[in-house]
């Protein structure tokens, strides 16, 4: 059953004097429980598409329905609430708040749910345990390695237990070993926790983790194949 449906979505933006159209009439459907990988060269519109799915950007034309909710026309506050509940976003850089510890960074999304301190503590502990960093809870981001930072970011993305994880080049800034560890973690979350993962990458090795892969090139989506 389709969890994410994009129908003839077009997105344009201005870059100086020029109008760029990274997505033109793109349609896509991602089923619940898929590990969907979107490949493509730099500037092909992968991140734009991911941002539309994560509801941090709006299409100029077309429809985006996620879990039956039309995202294109929802108000800004409604989209915020929707994101908090349904989407966990993993960026290329970990984007942790530098003055907060790993624990506090992971705790951030939970303040939006009015949970008790005890409940927040329980969930943060589970999330940090899941990414193998329970012993780094009190460390600041600068005291962590790049791979550890990215795993804290994944813990932050899953702590509110969203159905969808979106990842924008999550291994782009990591060495081979850390990249493998992060991809194994995403794969584990997909398999064991039944998360729908939408990952953007230009790295074919990372793409192998997906159950379905598509290539976005010059605004056009092409099926690449199925998972290993």
């Amino acid at each position: 059953m389709a969890l994410i449906e994009l129908l003839e979505v077009t997105k344009t933006y201005r870059k100086g004097e020029h109008v760029v159209t990274p997505l033109a009439n793109v349609s896509l459907s991602v089923d619940a429980g898929e590990f969907f990988v979107l490949l493509g060269p730099s500037g092909s519109g992968k991140t734009t598409l991911l941002n539309l799915v994560a509801a941090i950007d709006r299409p100029d034309r077309g429809s985006i329905r996620v879990g039956g909710v039309e995202l294109g026309t929802a108000s800004s506050s409604k989209l915020s609430d929707w994101r908090a509940e349904h989407v966990g976003y993993v960026f290329q850089q970990a984007n942790l708040v530098p003055v907060l510890t790993a624990y506090e960074n992971v705790e951030l999304p939970l303040f939006l749910f009015g949970l008790s301190a005890a409940e927040r503590h329980k969930r943060v502990a589970i999330a940090l345990e899941a990414v193998g960093l329970a012993d780094r809870a009190t460390h600041l981001p600068k005291q962590l390695s790049g791979g550890q930072e990215q795993r804290v970011a994944i813990a932050r993305a899953i702590v509110a237990d969203p159905e969808i994880l979106v990842a924008d080049e999550p291994t782009g800034n990591l060495d081979h070993e850390s990249a493998e560890s992060v991809l194994d973690l995403l794969s584990h979350l997909h398999r064991e926790r039944k998360k729908t993962v939408v990952m953007v990458t230009h790295d074919p090795r990372a793409a192998r983790y997906g159950t379905r892969r598509m290539v976005l090139d010059k605004g056009e989506l092409k099926e690449e194949g199925t998972a290993r």
Partner: protein, 379 residues
Amino acid sequence: MKLATLVRKNLTRRPMRTALTVLGVASAMLLFVLVESLSAGLERALSGSEAARTLVVYRQNRYCPQTSFLPEWYATRIAKLPGVKSVLPVKVYLNNCRASLDLVAFQGAPAAEMLSTRGIEVIDGDAQRFVREKDSALVGRAFAARKDVEVGESFRFGNIVVKVAGIFASDEPVEEGVILTHLEFLQRAGPVNKLGTVTQFEVKIDDASRAEALSAEIDELFRTAEQPTDTRAKILFLEGATRDLREILGFARILGFACVLVVLVLVANTVLMSVQERVREFGVFRTLGYRASHVAELVVVESLALSLFGGALGLGLAWLVVHFARVSIGSEGVPVQFSTSPKLAVLGFAVAAACGIVAGLVPALRSARAEIVVSLRSA
């Protein structure tokens, strides 16, 4: 982790910048509060309930109390006017005639009459000892506090030496900044021996509404005398005597408001720099599900916290200055104490809070309105 923790951690990202901003706000608030405390002191000085029912008779065209020499016998003639309750001849001796930051004002009058008409209460020492000993004095509690004067010790100023018989409180705030002595003692003790002359008469009247008419009657009584008089209700006299101060204060208030503007600009600049460094971070917050209003709230609270820390420090410093520097500003023998009060503290905090909120509004709106994807692309 609560909002307060996040705000604290954000403010300590750049400890030097935060500290400098807080110090800047504190300095500006110190000046603002000192001006306001002087204003409150002046207001208090002019607020005595008896001021409307008391007339002050001075030498016409006097320059200052030191140049007003009225014959003491005028008291007998003034006392005979209908509507006059009592007449107190007063000799005034000052260290400085114009506006001064260290006013020392002696007032000499017949002791028993002074105690019965001035409405003072001796809170330490012995009033009767003052009546008995001609070289003793009663010291107003504000002056005693300012100069660390205690009962039993001698107080010297120039060639005047008095024994402190008591410390008094008064319903009239200006009274608490002076030293009361016997009339004859002061007539003889000044640099010029002027026995038989006084500086002014304080005339208590039955009906405040007749103050103007009685003033005119008194002046008419001595119109052709060698020492013509100028009589005014005490409130008008106080207003006249403090005119210089009020003019200075009016200008100082402009400086006070400039200080508020400085606080505003200082905090706004710091908050703006802070949010410019965190554009991407706010994009991350929005991606996590925080609403635009949450981001705006965070920025405003940070701005408010900066301003309130500075405000609290400034208020604390102002309190220390007022209570330990012990300065008193006075003009023509009217002492005005810097006055701190809970009301002034509330005003200081309110101004600091308002500055913090206003200063944070523009950065808050800019942060809240930024597009998430644009914020995430920022360096």
